[in-house]
């Protein structure tokens, strides 16, 4: 470092427009919103409950509400939060890693990979159990993501090549899924609910393993914030700062695959959460990944849970699948994003 005359401590690092305290308070507010949504998610359904009933249902095993609360609503709420957080974080990681503001986890072929695996299982092996479907979906997501990475040139994968490989794998996967579904009506019927994205299967889902898997991958993803901040300055600058972009991409793809793969396996392909949530978040936090990543996880959780609660309310006593609510809410927002002056470059 050069010798320079001492200067008054400038407001370095704490960027003036977005003080750290505002962003820290925002996290607290977000946590509060999630708590309220969680209570709503337990109370709202084909059988609505008051707060008192929710409380006795949670605490008193002998009460009427106990079964509904602990066997159905609680797992559903936990899964909704976990899947939402996973999708929000996976989207933010994907956009940071590819420096592409329009990237989402689906771009790694995770959704189609899972769908192709589920369709294969349903058609060729006739699997019906939801737990078996989860295994297949997860394997399919992982294979598609690794496939994309290899097609993109493995260690020499650039953001553009990753996006192209993802688009190719997605197109091929969709063609395969459609072909099988057209050939076989039974498979189509079986996949109908899975493929729109739904949390109705929550009671039969192994909740704890799913939550643990997502939590571990989320921690791994959050640790990448700082090297991703370096990568945001370009591959060359990142190298100069001591980040190996190839190693970082492998770590990022691994985290995204587990996050998005698990979420997709459990609730089917839910679109727009991974794409839209990081955009909303960046408008508030600015480009620092140390804030973008945790905010995206929490906002994703809140968004998905809110969509699920809404889906249970708007068509009572029937339900609208959470994937449809997300797409209906996310679609117009996405159109708004791309029609706006210009999409923020990363």
């Amino acid at each position: 470092m050069t010798t320079v005359s001492p200067v008054a401590p400038a407001p370095a690092a704490t960027d003036g427009a977005r003080p750290t305290s505002r962003r820290a308070w925002g996290l607290l507010v977000l946590a509060g919103v999630i708590a309220v949504l969680a209570v709503l998610s337990i109370a709202v359904g084909s059988r609505a409950m008051g707060l008192g009933e929710v409380w006795t249902g949670l605490t008193d095993p002998a009460s009427d509400a106990h079964t509904v609360v602990t066997q159905m609503r609680l797992p559903r709420t936990a899964l909704g939060l976990a899947a939402g957080a996973a999708l929000g974080l996976a989207g933010a990681l994907m956009q940071a890693m590819t420096r592409n503001p329009l990237a989402d986890p689906g771009l790694l072929g995770v959704n189609t990979g899972a769908a192709a695996a589920v369709v294969t299982a349903a058609y060729f092996f006739g699997f019906a159990s939801f737990t078996q479907t989860i295994g297949f979906a997860f394997a399919g997501a992982a294979i598609a993501a690794v496939g994309c990475y290899l097609i993109a040139g493995a260690a020499s994968a650039t953001p553009a090549r990753l996006a192209l490989a993802g688009a190719a794998v997605t197109a091929a996967g969709y063609a395969y899924v459609s072909a099988v579904q057209i050939l076989d009506a039974a498979t189509l019927e079986q996949m109908r609910f899975w493929s729109v994205g739904s949390l109705v299967n929550a009671p039969t889902t192994p909740v704890l393993p799913v939550v643990i898997l997502i939590a571990v991958a989320a921690i791994a993803g959050l640790v990448l914030a700082r090297p991703l901040n370096a990568l945001a300055l370009g591959d060359a600058t990142a190298t100069g700062l001591g980040v190996d972009p190839r190693v970082l991409r492998v770590a990022g793809i691994a985290a995204i695959t587990v996050l998005a793969g698990t979420a997709t396996a459990v609730c089917g392909p839910i679109v727009f959460v991974g794409l839209v949530v990081p955009h909303v978040v960046r408008a508030f936090t600015g480009p620092d990944q140390n804030w973008v990543l945790p905010y995206s996880a929490l906002t994703g959780a809140a968004f998905l849970l809110a969509a699920d609660v809404l889906g249970r309310v708007i068509a009572r006593p029937a339900e609208v699948q959470v994937g449809i609510v997300c797409a209906v809410a996310g679609g117009p927002f996405f159109l708004y994003l791309i029609s706006r002056r210009r999409v923020a470059s990363l």
Binding site: V7, A10, A12, R226, A236, L241, R282, S345
Partner: protein, 266 residues
């Protein structure tokens, strides 16, 4: 010059992309405390050499030595504390402020357990003062002029606190005023003890600002040394195929290359 004197060197290095070799058996020493400028015609391998020195390109044969040890055998973060790099077109994320961008230069000094410290804060403030961008601290990088932006990027690499600084064509997209501004800043850093290596296009700017020149052609080093010693009409013609005269720069006394008038101009 021996390895112990040169903090950064290439030994018998073959450089290229894929199977295409651009340089073979290259030996280069970057002298400590000098402002070294690598120059030469387009596609002469000067940017390739800089990339290799910055460990962005691994020699297919031979070595790049940092402090006498193979640069690729050292952890990349450790290298980043010795050697800073400003690439030709770095990317500023949308909406980032000057202070935040400069702060990202602290990356190699941080760890999972070593978070942002008062020391980081101080270094970032000093880097902004040295490049005269302190007043811009809370401004968005995308609002700045080209020259201001380049000074901010230089502040970012200064915040990295490395004894060696590599700049890949730092003046390329700037108008003449901002080119001089950036080169004056480099000269100031050099006077203050920083070792600099830059790739430059402009012969006369190189002659004026460099204290050590490496002239390349077709992947090989044609001449090396102080500008006054090596910038002769014969050398320039050998490097650029350009008939010229050399006069003294009336401002600085450094060599000034004047291309000869062709038949068309007479």
């Amino acid at each position: 010059m021996t390895d112990s004197l040169s903090p950064l060197a290439a030994r018998n290095a073959t450089l290229g992309y894929g199977r295409v070799a651009i340089s073979e058996g290259l030996d280069v020493d970057i002298p400590e405390g000098e402002f070294t400028v690598i120059l030469g015609p387009n596609a002469c391998g000067k940017s390739t050499l800089l990339k290799a020195l910055a460990r962005m390109l691994k020699p297919s044969a031979g070595q790049v030595l940092l402090d006498g040890k193979d640069i690729h055998s050292q952890p990349t973060r450790a290298v980043a504390r010795r050697l800073g790099l400003l690439p030709q077109s770095p990317i500023a994320p949308d909406g980032i402020t000057v202070a935040d961008l400069v702060a990202r230069g602290r990356y190699p000094h941080q760890g999972i357990l070593r978070q942002w410290s008062a020391e980081d804060e101080k270094v970032v403030a000093e880097a902004m003062a040295a490049t005269d961008v302190t007043e811009l601290a809370s401004r968005g990088v995308d609002e700045l002029s080209g020259g201001q932006r380049q000074r901010v990027w230089i502040a970012m690499v200064l915040a990295q606190q490395t004894p060696l600084l590599l700049l890949d064509e730092p003046t390329t997209y700037l108008d003449i005023t901002h080119q001089i501004e950036v080169l004056d800043l480099c000269a100031k850093l050099h006077r203050e003890g920083q070792t600099l290596v830059a790739v430059l296009h402009d012969l006369n700017q190189a002659a004026r600002y460099a204290t050590h020149l490496i002239a390349m052609r077709d992947g090989a080093i044609v001449a090396e040394g102080a500008p006054v010693e090596i910038l002769t009409a014969a050398t320039v013609e050998k490097i650029f195929d350009l008939p010229c005269r050399i006069i003294d720069d009336p401002e600085t006394g450094t060599p000034l290359v004047i291309p000869r008038a062709g038949p068309r101009d007479l």
